[in-house]
Amino acid sequence: MRPGTREVDRLSKSLLRRAADRAGPGSRPASWLAGRRIARLGTSAVVVIAALLFPQFEGGNIPVMFLATTALTYGLVAIALNLLMGFGGQISIGHGGFLAVGAFTTAIVATHYHFPPIVVLLLAGLVTGLVGFLLGLPAGRLRSHYLAVATLGFGVAVPELALNMSLTGGFTGVIMPPQQVGSIQFNTPVPLYYLALALVATGMAAVISLLASPTGRRFRAVRDSEEIAPALGVNVPLVKLTLFSLSAFFTGLAGYVFALNNSIVEYSQFDFSLSLFFFAAVIVGGLASTWGPLVGAIALVIVQQQTTSLGGLSETILGAAVVLVLLVVPGGLVALPRLVLRLAAWVWWMAQRVLRRRTLPPPQDPVPAERAMGASEG
């Protein structure tokens, strides 16, 4: 915890206690906590409804729908990466490589076989999961910067392989054929948006339920200490293997949407900066938080879209955001509201103190002088 936050924390708690005292003995701070939970649920409900209704307003606007689906796709990758980094403590700067595997698998399978979309989707996830498993085999023995270097190597090797293999179409890439269930065309903007939304919801639900399970507790044990976890009976290499496979699986699902959304898959879409983008999305949104990665991905997609006029500007903003998160707001974007609330509470408390000092006579010493002296002697 950074110095300073602790003080603000204590301040807001004492403020809470005072509010409870003023309200009488019946009310407890717990009611305030319950209010917070309601506020949180309400925010989530508003977000979900807004996401569901979004195509009602912007459905005809193809560029906006493309961006929205891109944001959701990248959000799913960020959720998968957050599972690995935030809850598993394993760094990866090569998730662009996993997205490439998922997208290429989708396009290649859909070109050569006439499987129903659900099969193609699952194949994209499973093939990418298998690649994650294979990368997890050596990565299970590595930690911190060694892991970062290895995943960096993976991230730059995949596009190079895609450029040089005939299966992946080389320089020209693979054109994504349309996907259809009944009368629903998944290569049209609105159905694809809903598909991406459903996958994001599935990914989030899977991560939440996974974290509540014993497996999730093992993840966090490994994250918190790779030395102590084995003493608690945790099989660390197995946990890392699971983490890499699962994270790659969900990134592969995102690859399916990516292929449909871009309608062509080529090596140049997956350069190193894409991996850095996912990495930044997780950090800026809020590492190890539920909504953080999605919020980060959406925010960064908007930043990228707004700064296309000046090359390098979006990277500068991304980099500055990561640095700022580390130095100023450790919880990322999702921690901002709480930070603002705390700041407001502090300002309110200070204002009250100043006002009271002006209006009230100085408070009398509650401890009689003799007793105070006696205490100091004894």
Binding site: I93, A150, V156, A157, N164, G319, L326, L327
Partner: protein, 292 residues
């Protein structure tokens, strides 16, 4: 045989550049325990400064190279003081995240300031190719390889035979005990950052003519080779960085000469994974002790 020797000889140029970049990484890693992912981006800034001094200001190339390398040292020291110093007690992963953030920041800033069109920087040392029998090596490549070896030797003598070098080794060995001995860890780490960025910047500028122009991202792939060289040599070993760099330069050149140069990054990735799997401490590194 002649082809083999010629390929080895021309691999020395790139090998020296990888070795210098790996040396920069090693210097920083040794004292601060941080693998600086932003080193390539910082080195690119140095190369851009060389370009500005040479093209816009009109200084001779060697002078602008030296001045920019000095500015690179300042940049490295400032980076440490402004961004890395306050994370020193945090978990290692936080420092890694920070250097990746700095990579984005500096790469972006370079793009904003200098633009993305490739720029040309002339060879620092120009002249006719030196031949020996049927073998040939360009003066620039010979200069790079010689600079690497000389710099490696200078660093070795500094570390092993001078008092400041002893202080650096003490901080690398055990920062707390070093501080108890009256060594300023702050100064040692900041000086390492200065030296690390300066060396990488010198290497980056020398690499520009061979990599087809100076762009904000031209160091990205060179950085991957430098990481591979550090991993191969064992992170934290000076000798390892130099040997690893030359090995990677020569091997990639041999593969390109005999087979194809299409899959160099994939090859390097496979090499990284193989080294880390078989011998995580690299060729010259020491097996890391884990303290709980």
């Amino acid at each position: 045989m002649t082809l083999f020797l010629q390929l080895v000889l021309s691999g020395l140029g790139w090998g020296g550049i990888y070795a210098l970049a790996a040396l920069g990484l090693t210097l920083i890693y040794k004292t601060s325990n941080v693998v600086n992912f932003a080193n390539g981006a910082l080195a690119t800034v140095v190369s851009m400064l060389v370009w500005t001094l040479h093209t816009s200001v009109g200084m001779p190339i060697a002078l602008s190279w030296l001045l920019a390398v000095a500015a690179g040292a300042l940049l490295g020291a400032l980076t440490d003081v402004m961004f890395m110093r306050r994370l020193r007690s945090a978990a290692i992963i936080v420092s890694i995240v920070m250097t990746l953030g700095l990579l984005l920041l500096f790469e972006g800033l370079t793009g904003v300031i200098w633009g993305f069109e490739p720029k040309a920087v002339p060879l620092v040392l120009n002249g006719p190719v030196i031949t020996y029998g049927s073998l040939a090596i360009s003066r620039n490549n010979l200069f790079i390889a010689g600079l690497t070896v000389v710099l490696g030797l200078v660093l070795y003598v500094f570390y092993e035979h001078t008092r400041p070098g002893l202080a650096v080794r003490a901080v690398a060995e055990d920062p707390e005990v070093a501080m108890l001995m009256g060594i300023s860890r702050r100064r040692v780490v900041t000086a390492s950052w200065a030296a690390g960025v300066a060396i990488a910047g010198a290497a980056a500028t020398l690499a520009v003519p061979a990599s087809g122009g100076l762009t904000p991202t031209f160091m990205e792939s060179i950085a991957v080779y430098a990481f591979a060289a550090s991993v191969l040599g064992g992170f934290g070993s000076l000798l390892g960085a130099v040997v690893g760099g030359f090995l990677i330069g020569i091997v990639t050149n041999l593969v390109a000469g005999y087979w194809s140069n299409n899959l160099q990054l994939t090859l390097v990735f496979a090499l990284i994974v193989a080294v880390l799997y078989i011998r995580p401490e690299g060729l010259f590194g020491r097996r890391a002790r884990v303290r709980v």
